[in-house]
C-alpha cells in the first residue's frame, strides 16, 4: 500500500460529497444526480465515475472485484484493481460470490447478486435521452416533465425502418415507474437482472459528472411496446465451448482450426467456476 497518498486516493471531503450524492441517488431511483466529479489518475471515459464511487465506499474489510466487458483479467480492470489495491490495501477477488463491491464495465455478472453486495457500473453516457436531444438544459426539463415521447419515438422509428427495434447495448429502462434511465452499455441480456435486484446498483459517470442508482427491490422495465416486446440478444442453440453453459451472454470467436464461429461465456469468472466444479466432480468420481 502506498503511504504517500490518502487512503483510497480521494480526500475525505470529496468522499463525503460523493457519498451524499449516492444517498440522494438512492432516494430518487433512476434520477441522475450531478456531482463535482474529481479528476482521477485514470483517464476520463475509462471508468472514473465508477472508480470514484468505489473509492468513496470502500473500507478495509471490503473485498473488491473489477470486471471489464465480462473479464476480470482485462487490462483496464487490472489497472483499476491495481490503483484501488495500491491506495487501500483491500483484498481483491475474481469470484463474484466472495466480493462485497463489484465495479463493472458493461456487464452484470451471471451469478445472481445478494443484498450484501453493491454493483457499481461505469457509465459513459448517462443521459438516455441524449440521442434525441443534445442539450443538457433541455433533457433535464424533459425528465422533470416526464416528457418521454422522444425515447418512444426512437423505438417507433426503428420499427418503421427495420421491422423491429434495433437497439444494441444500453437499451433504455424505466426505473421505479418514473425515470427513463440509461442502464449503461450493458447488453440487453443483462437488463432483466436489474429488475428487483437484491444488490444495490450504483451507476457513475465521471466525465459527465452524474451518479444515479437502482436501489434493491426496485422495478426496472426495459422500454418496449406491447406488440413489439423487448428482446434480449439471441444465443439459442449456442453453448460455451469451454464449460458447456447455455443461457448466458457469450463472446463469439472464430475457431482457429475450423474457421467456424464458436462461443464462450463472456463472464470469465463464471466460466472458470463452472470449469473448476466440473473438474472437482470428475476428480471425486475417479476416487470413489
Amino acid at each position: 500500500m502506498r503511504l504517500d497518498t490518502q487512503f483510497a486516493f480521494l480526500d475525505e471531503g470529496s468522499k463525503k460529497e460523493i457519498r451524499r450524492t449516492i444517498l440522494k441517488a438512492v432516494a430518487i431511483p433512476g434520477y441522475q444526480v450531478p456531482f463535482a466529479s474529481r479528476e482521477m489518475p485514470i483517464a476520463r471515459g475509462w471508468g472514473t465515475g465508477g472508480l470514484q464511487i468505489t473509492l468513496s465506499l470502500i473500507g478495509r474489510p471490503d473485498v473488491l472485484k473489477v470486471i471489464d466487458q465480462g473479464a476480470d483479467e482485462s487490462v483496464n480492470a487490472v489497472s483499476i484493481k491495481k490503483l484501488v489495491k495500491d491506495t487501500t490495501g483491500v483484498k481483491l477477488t475474481e469470484s463474484t460470490k466472495d466480493s462485497t463491491l463489484i465495479q463493472s464495465r458493461h456487464r452484470v455478472p451471471e451469478m445472481p447478486l445478494t443484498k450484501d453486495q453493491i454493483l457499481i457500473l461505469q457509465v459513459p453516457m448517462p443521459e438516455a435521452l441524449r440521442s434525441v436531444e443534445a442539450r443538457e438544459y433541455v433533457t433535464k426539463r424533459l425528465h422533470a416533465d416526464e416528457e418521454y415521447s422522444g425515447a418512444w419515438l426512437m423505438l417507433f422509428e426503428q420499427i418503421m425502418k427495420y421491422g423491429s427495434t434495433a437497439t444494441d447495448a444500453d437499451h433504455p429502462v424505466v426505473v421505479n415507474n418514473r425515470y427513463i434511465t440509461a442502464p449503461s452499455p450493458i447488453p440487453r441480456f443483462d437488463n432483466p437482472k436489474l429488475h428487483q435486484s437484491e444488490a444495490l446498483i450504483l451507476l457513475g459517470a465521471g466525465r459527465e459528472k452524474k451518479i444515479y442508482a437502482i436501489p434493491p427491490y426496485t422495478n426496472v422495465e426495459s422500454l418496449a411496446f406491447e406488440d413489439y416486446p423487448f428482446q434480449v440478444e439471441d444465443f439459442e442453440g449456442k453453448y460455451c465451448h469451454l464449460c458447456g453453459s447455455t443461457g448466458v451472454f457469450m463472446d463469439e470467436i472464430i475457431d482457429p482450426v475450423t474457421n467456424e464461429p464458436i462461443y464462450q461465456c463472456n463472464d470469465t469468472s463464471y466460466c472458470l467456476e463452472r470449469l473448476n466444479k466440473k473438474e472437482n466432480v470428475e476428480v471425486e468420481k475417479s476416487y470413489v
Binding site: G13, G45, D68, G163, T167, P187, Q264
Partner: protein
C-alpha cells in the same frame, strides 16, 4: 484457448509499463527539471493553464514525466490537483495592480501609459536558427553581460508603474456601459458540476482551463463565419499579478490584514465588440461590449480566442454553435475530450456483440418480410 486478448492482463500491463520506462531511459539522457523551467517556459505556462494548477515546478515535472506530451502532462497535473485540499479562496485581484511586462492595444495608437512590446515572438522571422544546434554557454554568458551593461544605462523610474486599463478611456467617453462591481462569490466549477444556463464566473473558469487548441479553433470558427463576433483587441497585457488572501479568522475585515501569498503570471485580454442596442427612442445604436480572456502564464492566442468565445456566449440568441454554451463549454476540456476519445481503445466486444445481434436480427426480419 483460442481467444487470448482478455487474458493475462496483469502481466501484459506490467511488461508495457517496463517498456514505457525503457523508452524514456534508453538514450541515457536525463532532462533536469530546472532545464525545463528555464527553457520551456511557454510549455510550462500552457500546462499550468490547461490543468488550472499554478505551479511551474509541478508543471515542469509533469512535462518530464509525460515526455513532452501536452495531454499527458495536463492529465497528471489535474489528477494531482484532485488530491489537494483547498484551504483558501483569494481576494478578487484587480488587473490594474499587475506588474506589466507587455501591454499592447490594437484599438489605439497612443494608449494612456503607452504600448509596451516586451518579449514577443510576434516579429521574429520563423527561420530555423541552426546556431542553436551548437549553443555555447560561454557565448551566452558574454551576450548576457553585454545586455546587462546596456540595461544599466536605462534610467529606472522611481515608483512602481501601474498601467490604467484602455477600456477606462472609452468608458469615460460614454462608449461603454458603466457597470457596478459585482462581488458575488464566484462558482467553483471544481466543486460543483456545471448547471445550465451557467453563470459567467463558471463560464470563464471553463474557458480559461480549456485546451489551447480547442479554444483557439472555436474562437477562429466564430471569427471566420460561424459566429457573430468580430472584435478589436482593446488590450493584451502580460505580467505578474499579486494574490492576497484574507485572514482566515479575523472577525472584522481589513485590507491591511490580508496576506500576500505570491504572484501569478497572467495573460489578460479585453476585446471590444460593437453591438446593436436600442436607445431610449427605440432606435438602433452602436455600442461596445467587452469580451474577456485570461489565462495562466503567457498564451496570448488562447486568451484572445477566449475573449471571442466569452462574447459569443453572452449572445446565445445567435444561431451558431459557437454561441451555444453547452457546445462550447462541454467540449473544450483537455482531460475530458482526450479521455473519451482514447477510451475507444478499450475493448468493446460486449457492446459490439449486442450490436451484431441487432443487425443480424434486422437482416433476418427483412428477409422474412420479402417472403
Amino acid at each position: 484457448m483460442g481467444y487470448v486478448a482478455v487474458k493475462g492482463g496483469t502481466m501484459a500491463i506490467d511488461a508495457s509499463l517496463k517498456r514505457l520506462k525503457y523508452e524514456r531511459l534508453k538514450e541515457e539522457e536525463v532532462l533536469e527539471i530546472k532545464t525545463i523551467l528555464a527553457s520551456m517556459r511557454t510549455m510550462v505556462d500552457q500546462v499550468m493553464s490547461e490543468s488550472s494548477l499554478y505551479s511551474p515546478f509541478l508543471a515542469a515535472l509533469a512535462i518530464k514525466q509525460a515526455e513532452g506530451s501536452m495531454e499527458e502532462a495536463v492529465f497528471l497535473m489535474r489528477a494531482h490537483r484532485s488530491t489537494l485540499p483547498r484551504l483558501y479562496y483569494s481576494r478578487a485581484a484587480e488587473s490594474e495592480s499587475m506588474l506589466v511586462e507587455r501591454r499592447i492595444s490594437a484599438s489605439f495608437k497612443d494608449i494612456p501609459g503607452g504600448q509596451l512590446l516586451g518579449a514577443t515572438t510576434d516579429y521574429t522571422h520563423r527561420l530555423l536558427d541552426f546556431q542553436l544546434v551548437e549553443e555555447s554557454t560561454m557565448e551566452n554568458e558574454q551576450w548576457l553581460t553585454t545586455y546587462k551593461e546596456i540595461l544599466k544605462e536605462v534610467e529606472p523610474i522611481g515608483d512602481v508603474q501601474y498601467f490604467p486599463k484602455v477600456v477606462e478611456y472609452l468608458r469615460n467617453e460614454g462608449l461603454f456601459e458603466i457597470y457596478t462591481h459585482d462581488d458575488t462569490p464566484p462558482v467553483d466549477i471544481t466543486k460543483e458540476s456545471l448547471q445550465f444556463p451557467v453563470s459567467r464566473s463558471a463560464r470563464l473558469q471553463v474557458l480559461t482551463r480549456g485546451q489551447t487548441g480547442a479554444v483557439t479553433s472555436l474562437g477562429y470558427a466564430s471569427l471566420r463565419g460561424y459566429g457573430q463576433v468580430h472584435p478589436t483587441v482593446g488590450e493584451v497585457r502580460v505580467g505578474a499579478l499579486p494574490i492576497y488572501v484574507e485572514h482566515p479568522n479575523e472577525g472584522t475585515y481589513d485590507v491591511e490584514d490580508d496576506f500576500y501569498i505570491g504572484d501569478i503570471r497572467l495573460t489578460e485580454v479585453e476585446s471590444f465588440v460593437p453591438v446593436n442596442v436600442k436607445n431610449e427612442q427605440n432606435k438602433d445604436e452602436l455600442e461596445f461590449e467587452i469580451g474577456y480572456g485570461a489565462c495562466y502564464g503567457r498564451n496570448e492566442t488562447k486568451a484572445i480566442a477566449m475573449s471571442i468565445l466569452d462574447q459569443c456566449l453572452e449572445h446565445p440568441e445567435a444561431d451558431f454553435p459557437t454561441h451555444d454554451e453547452e457546445f462550447v463549454l462541454l467540449h473544450i476540456d483537455s482531460v475530458e475530450s482526450t479521455g473519451f476519445i482514447s477510451h475507444l481503445k478499450l475493448p468493446h466486444y460486449v457492446t459490439f456483440q449486442s450490436k451484431l445481434d441487432s443487425v443480424r436480427n434486422v437482416k433476418k426480419g427483412g428477409k422474412k418480410n420479402e417472403a
